[in-house]
Subunit: 229 residues, 2 copies
Amino acid sequence: MNLDQLGLCRKAITSRSKFNRVVRRCHKEGSHEGPCDEFPFLEHLESIAGRVAQKVKRDSVMTTGAAWKSEEAGPNRILRWVMLETDEDLRAYGIDMTKLKPQVVAKLREKAAGYDDCIEVSMWLTYLVYQMAGAPAAPSSTSDFLARVFGPMRTATTLCEVCRLPLAFEMFEGAQRGRAIIETCHREPRQHSAGNVGFAHRECNIAQGARSVDEFYAWIRGILDRVGR
Amino acid sequence: MNLDQLGLCRKAITSRSKFNRVVRRCHKEGSHEGPCDEFPFLEHLESIAGRVAQKVKRDSVMTTGAAWKSEEAGPNRILRWVMLETDEDLRAYGIDMTKLKPQVVAKLREKAAGYDDCIEVSMWLTYLVYQMAGAPAAPSSTSDFLARVFGPMRTATTLCEVCRLPLAFEMFEGAQRGRAIIETCHREPRQHSAGNVGFAHRECNIAQGARSVDEFYAWIRGILDRVGR
């Protein structure tokens, strides 16, 4: 997908972040009135289910890392495109990759993704959210846009990327011990793009581990062959 | 199994622990000379692979809990049989269960096990270790004892309880980032007894999650049915 071919505004949005080498852009329609907005397709969700909208933005744009904050874990929840920069450029932001363990560096670097890929992922995850069982109906401005980009929306068709059971919108609320029941999931762990990202049950995402979804299926097929079906 | 019927010494071992309501005992042969020993069947392993022997003892006898230490997580790595005591008796040890979240209490209580069950598990895990591929040979005093309790030992027959692939003794050494590749695993999570405990790859143990092994197999069978083999 090329975001420049969608007829969107794409004007630069001024940022106060220190990570400003990459320009963030407006994704309203090209002809829009009023102020620019990076995530207009999330505006409705933001107003009725703010935490879900925030999760979509965060998981699209930020790396995940260790669940804890520590010097050793390195920068946690950093913009994915910042992790595309060289060690030298990162030092200018106060991030010294040479002080981190090789495994931590590898983990951070494998979450790197370009800005447009992240925006595309945020559109795709929004599209999937609205197609969950029990999801609110999107206003036509939002559903028309998403359908134009990804095809017609169908109610209650969003499945867990791993176990292929339907996901319900209400699962976003069923957080236990601060842990969401639904997580963002990568079919191929090292690829942050719309086609490769989706939602999964937390337990499915954990079971998948560092494997691709296809590797996971091959693995469990092998187990059942040994156990005897 | 009844430990009292194995002809072992079973004399009380004096303990300086504050958790002394349960008497720990000697498990040398009844006719033994020299000092008593709670884990004589681990003596050889202790001398050649101390960390493996320590792991067997620890996993047999102690609860696991949160990976971190905090007030909220409650007592971590506590003797399993202490978790059989009442809230009131625990208060005498300085453990106030009423101050912990219900889920934390449930997690601690489900790891509870009687002293004899824990000792039996330690014998069983030792038996499994010696039957891993590449494991050192046990001295006859140890192998005779274990064979008498559990049956003849066969080389390289210990499998991962989840994926049913052979486990190699050297996997105990292959710890990455402080995490062992082999973990102790419960086929039925809430039951700490010899027949129900074994070893599993760390990733298999994680994938099993809170399910029993049989529930795990049923779950992955369902996935493959939906994905289409």
